[in-house]
Each structure stands twice: as structure tokens, then as C-alpha cells.
């Protein structure tokens, strides 16, 4: 697979690397920034490095460059042979996530400050180019350094381990979990309180046109499990039948059961590796031994034909002879009055470098964010069926160029919000059975439902 993995800064200069096969000279990486420019998909137009317009798989002189961008960093793998490029990219993605977990934030500074733990992880996560262990929880059991343990070591709430308990002893031993059939959980975990929390979270991505019609929508759902359970508990999760059947259909590639408009169509289902995939299909059962702490048990995608926009947006902009802009945004909460949404944030794009914005509004708070070129309209809470208006007056920079004035109107409004107590797909958790064969303790699960916006809940304005 990969011969060497590099971390590069935003100009393509190496920050740290780990060579696995030593079959690629170091001159190869020096070529990377040049390649990025050369093969930029802008064609002959001169692209800049930062705009990320170069495809993530490149080759030159028999060396293949496979990279992904994370914040301002390039994470790059090189190889000479024909290999599974997709798996390498996925590995790099896992690598980023593990390092984020260890360092809180993966950036130039944190790489420089934590090189020794990064080397250790690189050594453990990949051997001679073959990915080994990328499960953060397992890695944290035997790759630790005090310097970061104190700050970021994850502790599930409610399980404050006494000093000198099992973990300390384990630090220097390979956890059995590394090579167990159950690679995500060590044996011998003890918690004082045995609890399990389920969060059903659905993120809605929507693209809405100026007439408030939905152009495309997607619901990404997730069931997150946060558990502090002792021993090796066997869990079975029960969902409402309608949803479960729809899942099974999706998995088996069967057409939806009833074609009435009201039906919910689950399109894709993904499980955490702890879920027994075979059993799900054959016995319609979601059974598993969970990892300790938090995990994304189950994720799914739902297509709903009955979905309506959560907020109706009315947008108008008036340009006063290229010196002054007036933007009016009206928002209406398009749901029943007894429901309310929290943390609504509306990002209204504006041209770059506008000056002294003035606002008129009847709820929430307004703020101009110059580095994003947006006006942020924030609500703490908004009740259903309510309607609010804001008008922003902006002075344009004296050298406003025509292109810029057109460009900002092409960027859609972005909305963020959160609603509790229900999910749009109709998923319901019926039960979560917890059984630990040896310890036989009692434990009761807690369930929460949250509907929120995805990264792309957007309204086009023109």
C-alpha cells in the first residue's frame, strides 16, 4: 500500500513524515507543490495552492501522490505500485480523525509540539504500508503520554476511575482487544454505574430555491450510543417495525413496501463494526457488544417525499447605485406553534469588505463576520409559526467591482438549527436490552431525539 506518509503545511513543505518502505527518494515530496500547481483543474489558468482545485490522486515519474486536505495541511501518501488508492485515502482520513482525537486539533502547531506521540501512532497504525489499527479507543489504551493524557484523555462521564486502577497497569501491555475477535473492547471493564444513553440525531441537508421549493433534500440519521457498562455486555436494540422493515428493504435492495406518498424510504444503512451484520439481515436484529464510551452505532440516510422546508425565507436585495446595499431577510418558522427550534443561525452572504453595517430587526442578534463575508443572524430560540424580519444596510467599498457584486448573490443562505424531541424519519427506539452474562446487573437506557441542520441546509436567493 503506501510507502510513506507525509504531513505538509499549506505550501507543501514537509512537517513530519514516516517512511514505511524506503523505496521513494525524498526528492519526490519536493515535487508535490509543483505538481499541485501543474495539475490544477483550472487548466492553464494559474491556480493557487490553497484553492484545493487539484485532484487528490496524481502521478509523476512513477510515483503516485495520494493526498487529502485537512484545514491547512496536506496529508500525503506516496506509493510506487498499483494499489488500492481508495483504501489509502480512507486510511488517511482515519489517521486524521485519530490524531484529532489525540491532539484535540490537528494543525501545524500541534504537529510540531507532539511529534513523538505522532511518530508512535504512525508506527502503530500502519506497518510496511499496511493499515493496522485505527480504532482510537484501542490505541488510547496502550499509546499514551502524560503530556496529553492530562488534557485530552477521554473519560466517559460517570466513570471516574480511581488512580491506580486497571488502566495504569494496562498502559504497557498490548491490550487483548488489539487482537481479540472483539477488537473494540477490552475485557475487565468495571463501572460503578451501568448506564447507556442513546441519541437519535438526524441532520437535514436541504437545497431550497427562492420560491421556497425543495430542490434536493437528504436526511442523515445517526444513533449515538454513550455507554458506561461493565464487563462484556450483550445489547440488542429494537426499533419500530416500520422503520426496521424499510431498513431491511434498503439493505436487500428491494423496492419500498408501500408506494404511498407518505412512506419513509431508508436509503442506506451503515453500522458500527461492533454490530453483527449477518444477524441484522437474517434475523432483523441489531445486536452488538458496544465499545466502552461513545460510538456511532448506526447511521442511515432517509429520503422523504413529504419533507417541507423548516424555515421559509424571503430575501430581497436592493443596490443603491453601487454605493449602498440593502438586504432584507424574512424568516418564518414553518412548523407547529408548540414546537420550537433552538440555536437558529442564518448566514446571509454579503460582498467582501462592506462597511459600517446597520441593522433593523425584531428578534435575535446580528453580527457582521468579515472573514466569512456574511451577516450572521442568530436566534436563541424561535417558536413555530412565528415570523421575523431583518434589514441590513451596508456601505460598499468605493472600489466595488462588478464581479464581486454578482458573486455574493450566487452563494446560498446557510441555516443552522436544532430541534429536540422528535426526528423526521419516524424512527423510534422501542427498546435497548442490556445483558451481561456474568455480572447480571440492571441498567436502564435513556433515549433522546434531536433534529438539526446538516452542513448544507441552504437557500438559494437568486
Amino acid at each position: 500500500m503506501a510507502s510513506v506518509v507525509y504531513f505538509l503545511d499549506n505550501r507543501g513543505r514537509p512537517l513530519l513524515h514516516r517512511d514505511y518502505k524506503w523505496d521513494i527518494p525524498s526528492t519526490a515530496v519536493e515535487k508535490f507543490p509543483i505538481l499541485l500547481l501543474e495539475k490544477s483543474s483550472n487548466g492553464d489558468a494559474v491556480g493557487s495552492l490553497e484553492d484545493g482545485s487539484t485532484v487528490p490522486v496524481l502521478n509523476s515519474d512513477g510515483v503516485h501522490y495520494i493526498y487529502l486536505m485537512h484545514k491547512n495541511l496536506y496529508i500525503l501518501a506516496l506509493t510506487r505500485e498499483d494499489t488500492n488508492a481508495f483504501a489509502i485515502l480512507c486510511y488517511l482520513d482515519s489517521l486524521v480523525r485519530v490524531l484529532e482525537g489525540y491532539l484535540k486539533s490537528l494543525e501545524e502547531e500541534s504537529i510540531r509540539d507532539n511529534f513523538s506521540i505522532i511518530y508512535e501512532l504512525l508506527d502503530e497504525m500502519m506497518d510496511y504500508g499496511v493499515p493496522q489499527i485505527t480504532d482510537q479507543k484501542i490505541l488510547k489504551e496502550y499509546i499514551t503520554q502524560e503530556s496529553f493524557t492530562l488534557k485530552t484523555m477521554f473519560r466517559p462521564s460517570g466513570s471516574k476511575k480511581k488512580p491506580g486502577s486497571t488502566t495504569v497497569f494496562k498502559e504497557r501491555m498490548a491490550p487483548s482487544a488489539v487482537t481479540n475477535a472483539i477488537s473494540w473492547r477490552s475485557s475487565g471493564i468495571v463501572h460503578k454505574k451501568n448506564e447507556a444513553y442513546l441519541d437519535v440525531v438526524e441532520s437535514i441537508d436541504m437545497l431550497i430555491n427562492p420560491k421556497n421549493q425543495i430542490l434536493s433534500s437528504e436526511i442523515h440519521g445517526e444513533i449515538k450510543l454513550r455507554s458506561t457498562l461493565s464487563g462484556m455486555p450483550e445489547l440488542v436494540l429494537g426499533l419500530n417495525e416500520k422503520f426496521m422493515n424499510s431498513c431491511i428493504n434498503a439493505v436487500k435492495g428491494l423496492p419500498p413496501i408501500d408506494n404511498t406518498k407518505k412512506s419513509i424510504e431508508v436509503e442506506d444503512v451503515k453500522f458500527h463494526q461492533c454490530v453483527r451484520l449477518g444477524k441484522f439481515e437474517s434475523e432483523k436484529m441489531i445486536s452488538f457488544i458496544p465499545p466502552d464510551g461513545e460510538c456511532n452505532l448506526f447511521s442511515y440516510r432517509v429520503h422523504s417525499s413529504t419533507l417541507k422546508p423548516m424555515f421559509l425565507i424571503d430575501y430581497k436585495v436592493r443596490n443603491h447605485s453601487n454605493t449602498r446595499l440593502e438586504i432584507m431577510v424574512k424568516v418564518r418558522a414553518n412548523f407547529k406553534s408548540r414546537i420550537s427550534a433552538r440555536k437558529l443561525e442564518i448566514r446571509v452572504p454579503v460582498p467582501r469588505d462592506v462597511d459600517s453595517p446597520k441593522y433593523h430587526y425584531n428578534k435575535g442578534s446580528l453580527k457582521y463576520l468579515p472573514n466569512e463575508s456574511v451577516i450572521l443572524w442568530k436566534f436563541h430560540k424561535i417558536d413555530g409559526a412565528k415570523e421575523y424580519v431583518m434589514i441590513a444596510e451596508l456601505l460598499l467599498p468605493s472600489v466595488a467591482d462588478e464581479l464581486e457584486l454578482n458573486k455574493f448573490r450566487k452563494i446560498p443562505l446557510n441555516l443552522k438549527f436544532e430541534m429536540q424531541g422528535f426526528v423526521t424519519s419516524g424512527l423510534q427506539v422501542k427498546y435497548l436490552k442490556i445483558r451481561e452474562p456474568k455480572m447480571n446487573y440492571q441498567s436502564y437506557p435513556y433515549v433522546r431525539y434531536i433534529t438539526k441542520s446538516g452542513d448544507h441546509y441552504e437557500v438559494r436567493v437568486k
Binding site: 514537509p14 513530519l16 517512511d19 514505511y20 518502505k21 483543474s41 489558468a45 484553492d51 484545493g52 482545485s53 487539484t54 487528490p56 490522486v57 502521478n59 512513477g62 487529502l68 510506487r80 498499483d82 488500492n84 481508495f86 483504501a87 485515502l89 480512507c90 486510511y91 482520513d93 511529534f115 513523538s116 511518530y119 508506527d123 506497518d127 510496511y128 499496511v130 493496522q132 480504532d135 496502550y142 503520554q145 504497557r172 501491555m173 498490548a174 488489539v178 487482537t179 437545497l207 430542490l215 434536493s216 437528504e218 435492495g253 428491494l254 436509503e267 442506506d268 451503515k270 453500522f271 463494526q273 451484520l277 439481515e281 440516510r301 454578482n406 450566487k410 452563494i411 448544507h456 438559494r460
Partner: protein, 734 residues
């Protein structure tokens, strides 16, 4: 330790040059306090990380190797790996510690020792590696065994002979029966890697091993699953129950959260797809749809590779995603390369049912600021109009609207698209689009392809063009400076115009162009083409001239690029690998490992690879030629196709020589091999012969020439036997 730390920080803050850093390190490394030693080692590694040369510290670092501090040990090992090559003789001193560590009671230390030993690429070390490696391969602890399995690959790379002699490869094979899944998975990864290095298939999967793999698949880590799925690709069976079993065990993996597991599973399933009943295939394809779409809920880089693969799968199974158009809609903050890929997929998913939705979406994208994107969108709208008749009117309206609003962005591309639309719907949208062309002048365009299209349209629809003579005049004046592609188009156009709408002025342009083309142009194809036209025009039979030059072109069915069947088959077998991203088979970009010293004794294997490459090239050309047989009648092309067909079995069937008759033609055509990428180069006469076979992309200038050939065929003259003799024959005809 704290003080040293502070000092370093202060130094950095005030940018005080560190005097004799290495000597400072050296004294730190031999300090009597272990804390200080460890701190110094860390600083040395830090210096190494930023690219400073600290190799001179090798002996001092080595003194710190015997330690119980695991963290320190790792750092020292890391240093050794990086600098072993600079001090090979000193490495001997470390072997003792390594061998000892490989027997440490702590499995982590044992694994670390064996892992690191394999990374010290010094002959002295390799000799000592065999014994601890043998021991750790049989270790009680699976963590150690799985590490040792990978170490066999390292040893194979360092000293192939020793590795084979010591029987490590057999040990690996026996590890397939290990009780621990991760060991099995790593043994498989190791065998796959070694097979790749050695160029021969070590892992012969039979039904028994396959069963074992299918069981292990469900139990091991995500990366182990990928290795196992990769190994499964090599398994071939025709037993229906076995096929069912594989599909049954692999399909649950489609729900795995790691996208690479999903794509590898899809690959294994696709491989079995031809062996199942039609019913089951339909069901399976439906099942693959949503996992494919879900590959798009990942970072853009992963999405990109996923899309490239989806494009390949779509070509094999065009209907697989017909209900998922919206999943491929562009998000405004997608990187440009991703937007372009998505748009390319979108048009392939278009059908009569969703075309309107797609067109509306494309219209939005056309309003973006990025020129490249907008041009691609224009192109795709054209493709859509040609593919789906029902939407063509609306699509043409959108194109016209774009012309009115954004002509500075889209003009060049628009002209090309208009040409294609006219070739698909010769009359239907003429009034709308001709107004665009009528407004244009020769100087408005600069892109070669756009110019050629523009000239073709003028030639074809000369009656609809106002101020025709002015336009032709500029063309005639600049004729010599034009690109060959444009010249070819200009030649055809001026001849056509003289047969349909001849005026004294156009005759004058014709004379000038023919003169220049036959006397002053270097390009042989243009010259020949001009000669042919000249001879045709010299005959008195105007009807014959018209029937040759003005023959109607076949209607364009599609302008969407496609792979040749052979390439497609190869790409399907390379899904998720590099080849699937480049759209080229691996043999075209992976060099045979001539530089790998370890494999020098495998010289025969390398020549095999080369032969295979040639084979591949030949068969591709033969394939193209076979399809072109209406134009070029090779006597023995049939046999050649048969003999060259089994190229897809990677290592097998060496030495199938193409018969000599075809080989000559192959050599002649071999430069066309580059044409197997998806972009053919229309224009010149000879490539026109090939491009009509590989792609449906338009080349009207060439098209009219091939019409000529067809006509001649119809007139029952003898068949043309080779491109080099073509023109002589032709000239004789007249």
C-alpha cells in the same frame, strides 16, 4: 528537564542561534540522569523531524537503546530506522538488544523489536533477523504474530533468497489457519504484497481457503476486511452455490462504515455478477445503489475517487443509479475537481423522467463564476440535449439564454455544442442556433476546436449565414496560419460552399486555399486532403462531386465519452485501485520493478511483464481495427481478435504472437495506442479511421472524408488495404 525545556523555548523566542547543537546533544545523551537523556533524545528526534542532519550522533544514541522506558525505546528505534544506512557497521551493536527485546516478556516490546528490525535495511541486520522472526511467528501472543507476519514482507524485500530458503513463505501460508483473525488478515496482506513484489501469485485461493476467508471476513478489523476482500478477487468459480455463498457473505459488508470496505465488497460482488441469474442480478444491482451513493458522504477527496469508480460501474451497468440523480447534485462549496466529476456523472444518469430536473439544476451551475465549470456545464447541457430528445428544446433554450447573458464565458464551448446539436437535429433548432453563429466572426474565436466547429457550421449551413463572403475572406486570408484541425475543416467547408452556393468570390477563395494547401502546407494529411478534393473537382461530373462531398452525415447518437469494451473490462477489475482513478490499466503506468535489487534474479518475470504490456497494446489496437473493418478490411483480423482476447488473465498466456500480417498494421497503428484514453483526437485522416471506432465524439471534418470512403466502397471498387496506400488508390480512381 524543566529548565532545559525553558531554555529551549527562550532560545526559540529570541532566535538565538544554537551553538554547536550537536555537541550539546552529545553531552546530553551521555548524561548520568536518565531524565536528561530522554529529553535529549526527544530533542534529537525533533531536529530530525525538521530535516536537520543528526546522523553523527548515532553512537551516542545507540548507547541509550537498552532501556525499560518504552517511550524512549521507541524514539531510539525510530532514530535507528532513519539513520541505519549511514552507520551500517554500528548497527551490529544494536542487534543484541533487538534479539533480546524479541524475547521480552511484554508482547508490546517483542512486537516492537521485530517490527523495527525489519525496518533497518542493513545487510548486517538481516542476517540476524531470521532467528527472532522465526520465533515471533510462532509467538503465543497474536499481537506479536500479526506483527511478525508483516515482517516477512520486509525480509522478502531485503533478502528474497534468504526469506524463501528459511521457509517463511510457507509459514505465512500456514498462518491462514491461525485462530486469530488479525493474524490471518495480516498473513493475507503479506502474501498479497509479496505476490506483487515477486510478480507471481503466491496466494492460490481454492474453495477451502475461500470458505475460511468468508468466515474471517465478518470478524476482523476494517483493514483486515479490505485485505481479505482483495484476496477474494483472485478467486474464480463457476459453481452456482459457491457464488451464492460468496454473495451472501459479502453483501452485509456493504453496510460497513468504512467506505473502502464498501467499495472493495462492491468489487467482489461485481466480479460474481456475470454468473448469477438475471433476476438475481437485478436485485443485486438495486442493492448496490445506495451503498454507492453513500460513498458521497465523505470528505471531497474520497468522494472524488468514489465518483471515478462510479463512472466505471455506470458504464457497465447504466441503470444502476437511475433513481439517485439528486445524490450527485453539486454543492456550492465542493472543490472544483469534484464539481466537474459530479456533472459528468449527472448527465450519465439522465433519462426522460428526470431530464427536466437535471436541466434546471445545470442552469443554476451555469451561473457560477468559475469559467472551467461553466464551460463544462455548457458541454453537458449539449450532451443532455443530444441524449434525451424530449428535453432538447428546453436545453437549446437554456443554451441560447446563456449566449445572451454570459457569452464572454461560454462562447467557445457553445459553438462546439451547437455543432453537435446540429448533427443530432439537423433542422429542428436551426433557426435558434443559427442566429448565434450568424452574429459571430472568425476573430471572435480562438480555441482550435471551436474554430473548426464554427467553420463546419458555416460550410454546412452556408445558405443561412449572412455576410458569408466576408467571413470566408478572413478564413482564406489566415489559412496558412491555422491549426491543421481548422485547416481541414476550412478545406471541407470551402469545397462544400462552392458546390452549393458558388460565387466568383468563393471560387477565388477556393483556388487560394487549394493552392496553399497543396504547395505551402507541411502537414501531409492536409495536403493529401486538398489533392483529393482537387481531383474530385477536376472531374466534370458535378453530380458525382455533390454525391461525394455533400453526402449526409450519420446522425450523432451521443456525445458522452465511453470506454472501449476491453478497457472497461480491465477497469472493472481495477476498481478502487489507481487505475480506476486514472482510467488507465495499471500496466500503462506501473513500471516493471527493474530497479529493485532484491528481484534481480527474477529477470524472467520482468520480461513477462513487458510482454504482457505489449500484448495489451496490440490487442487494443486489433480491437479498434476490428471494429473499423467497414473501412479497413483486414484479412486476418478475425483470428487476431481471438488470439489476443485473453489478455485479462494477468500472468497467463504469454507468447501469443499476433500473426505477422496484422503485426505490420499493428505497428502502423501503434501510435494510436494513446488514443485508448477517452479523448480521441479527431481531425486528421488517419486517426479518423480509428476514432470512429473508439468514440462517438464528433469529427465532421473527418466525417466527410470517411463518407468518401464509404461511397467508394459502395461503388464496388476494391477494398482499401492500408492507410498508407489509401490516397494513391484514391487518386487512381479519378
Amino acid at each position: 528537564m524543566g529548565a532545559g525545556h525553558l531554555e529551549r523555548k527562550l532560545r526559540r523566542m529570541f532566535k538565538i542561534p544554537v551553538k554547536g547543537e550537536n555537541s550539546e546533544f552529545r553531552s546530553g545523551l551521555v548524561s548520568q540522569y536518565s531524565d536528561e537523556r530522554k529529553d535529549t533524545i526527544q530533542r534529537v528526534i525533533a531536529a530530525m523531524t525538521v530535516g536537520k542532519d543528526v546522523s553523527s550522533l548515532f553512537p551516542d544514541i545507540l548507547k541509550n537503546i537498552a532501556t525499560h522506558d518504552l517511550e524512549q525505546k521507541k524514539l531510539v528505534y525510530l532514530y535507528l530506522m532513519n539513520y541505519a544506512k549511514t552507520n551500517p557497521e554500528l548497527c551490529i551493536l544494536a542487534t543484541n538488544t533487538f534479539v533480546q527485546d524479541a524475547e521480552d516478556p511484554n508482547p508490546l516490546v517483542r512486537a516492537l523489536a521485530i517490527r523495527t528490525m525489519g525496518c533497518i535495511r542493513v545487510n548486517e541486520m538481516v542476517d540476524y533477523l531470521a532467528i527472532p522472526l522465526k520465533r515471533t511467528l510462532e509467538d503465543d501472543n497474536p499481537y506479536v504474530r500479526k506483527t511478525a507476519a508483516i515482517c516477512v514482507v520486509k525480509m522478502f524485500a531485503l533478502n528474497t533468497k534468504l526469506c524463501v530458503e528459511q521457509g517463511f513463505l510457507d509459514t505465512l501460508l500456514s498462518m491462514l489457519n491461525d485462530s486469530n483473525q488479525m493474524v490471518v488478515a495480516n498473513a493475507i496482506s503479506a502474501l498479497l504484497e509479496i505476490s506483487k513484489m515477486g510478480g507471481s501469485q503466491l496466494l492460490n485461493i481454492d474453495s477451502r481457503i475461500m470458505k475460511k476467508l468468508l468466515i474471517t471476513l465478518n470478524e476482523c478489523t476494517e483493514w483486515g476486511r479490505i485485505s481479505i476482500l482483495t484476496a477474494m478477487e483472485n478467486f474464480d468459480t463457476s459453481d452456482v452455490t459457491e457464488v451464492d455463498h460468496i454473495i451472501e457473505k459479502v453483501t452485509p459488508q456493504l453496510q460497513h462504515e468504512n467506505p473502502a470496505v464498501v467499495l472493495s465488497s462492491i468489487k467482489v460482488i461485481l466480479k460474481q455478477m456475470d454468473k448469477v441469474s438475471n433476476d438475481q442480478r437485478e436485485r443485486l444491482l438495486r442493492r448496490l445503489a445506495s451503498p454507492l451513493c453513500s460513498l458521497l458522504s465523505n470528505p471531497p477527496e474520497i468522494q472524488y475517487v468514489a465518483l471515478r469508480n462510479i463512472r466505471i460501474i455506470l458504464e457497465k451497468y447504466p441503470h444502476i443509479l437511475s433513481n439517485d440523480l439528486q445524490a450527485f447534485f453539486v454543492k456550492y462549496n465542493d472543490p472544483l475537481y469534484l464539481k466537474l466529476e459530479k456533472i459528468d456523472i449527472l448527465v450519465r444518469l439522465a433519462n426522460a423522467g428526470n431530464a427536466a430536473l437535471l436541466l434546471a439544476e445545470l442552469r443554476e451551475y451555469a451561473m457560477e463564476v468559475d469559467i472551467e465549470l461553466v464551460n463544462r456545464v455548457v458541454n453537458v447541457i449539449g450532451q443532455l440535449a443530444i441524449k434525451i430528445t424530449e428535453i432538447s428544446k428546453k436545453a437549446v433554450d437554456v443554451l441560447y439564454e446563456l449566449y445572451l447573458n454570459r457569452s464572454s464565458y461560454v462562447l467557445e464551448q457553445l459553438v462546439i455544442v451547437i455543432q453537435n446539436i446540429l448533427r443530432r437535429y439537423p433542422k429542428k433548432y436551426l433557426p435558434t442556433v443559427i442566429t448565434i453563429i450568424a452574429d459571430l466572426n472568425f476573430d471572435d474565436l480562438s480555441n482550435t476546436e471551436s474554430l473548426a466547429s464554427y467553420i463546419w457550421i458555416i460550410g454546412q449551413y452556408s445558405k443561412e449565414i449572412p455576410h458569408l463572403e466576408d467571413k470566408l475572406e478572413i478564413m482564406a486570408l489566415q489559412f496558412k496560419e491555422l491549426e491543421p484541425l481548422v485547416q481541414a475543416a476550412a478545406l471541407t467547408a470551402i469545397v462544400k460552399i462552392n458546390l452549393t452556393k458558388s460565387t466568383p468570390k468563393t471560387r477565388q477563395f477556393l483556388q487560394k486555399i487549394l493552392n496553399e494547401a497543396t504547395t505551402e502546407i507541411e502537414n501531409a494529411d492536409i495536403r493529401d486532403k486538398a489533392y483529393i478534393y482537387w481531383r474530385i473537382l477536376s472531374t466534370d461530373d458535378e453530380e458525382l462531386q455533390k454525391s461525394i462531398v455533400l453526402k449526409r452525415l450519420p446522425v450523432l447518437e451521443s456525445t458522452i465519452d465511453t470506454f472501449s469494451p476491453l478497457l472497461l473490462k480491465q477497469l472493472i477489475s481495477e476498481i478502487s485501485n489507481l487505475g480506476s482513478v486514472y482510467y488507465k490499466p495499471a500496466v500503462t503506468f506501473i513500471k516493471p520493478k527493474a530497479e529493485n535489487e532484491a528481484l534481480v534474479n527474477n529477470a524472467t518475470l520482468q520480461s513477462k511483464k513487458l510482454e504482457e504490456l505489449q500484448q495489451m497494446a496490440k490487442s487494443e489496437i486489433v480491437n479498434n481495427a476490428v471494429k473499423a473493418e467497414t473501412l479497413l478490411d483486414f484479412d486476418d483480423s478475425e483470428e487476431n481478435q481471438d488470439s489476443a482476447a485473453p489478455v485479462d488473465t494477468p500472468m497467463g498466456s504469454i507468447g501469443i504472437g499476433a500473426t505477422t500480417g496484422a503485426a505490420n498494421i499493428l505497428d502502423e497503428l501503434s501510435d494510436l495506442f494513446s488514443g485508448m484514453t477517452t479523448q480521441p483526437q479527431p481531425g486528421t485522416t488517419s486517426s479518423a479511421i480509428a476514432s470512429t471506432s473508439t468514440s462517438t465524439s464528433p469529427s465532421p471534418a473527418a466525417g466527410s472524408t470517411s463518407n468518401l470512403f464509404e461511397l467508394i466502397n459502395q461503388q464496388k471498387h476494391k477494398t482499401i488495404t492500408g492507410s498508407s496506400t489509401t490516397h494513391d488508390d484514391l487518386l487512381n480512381l479519378f
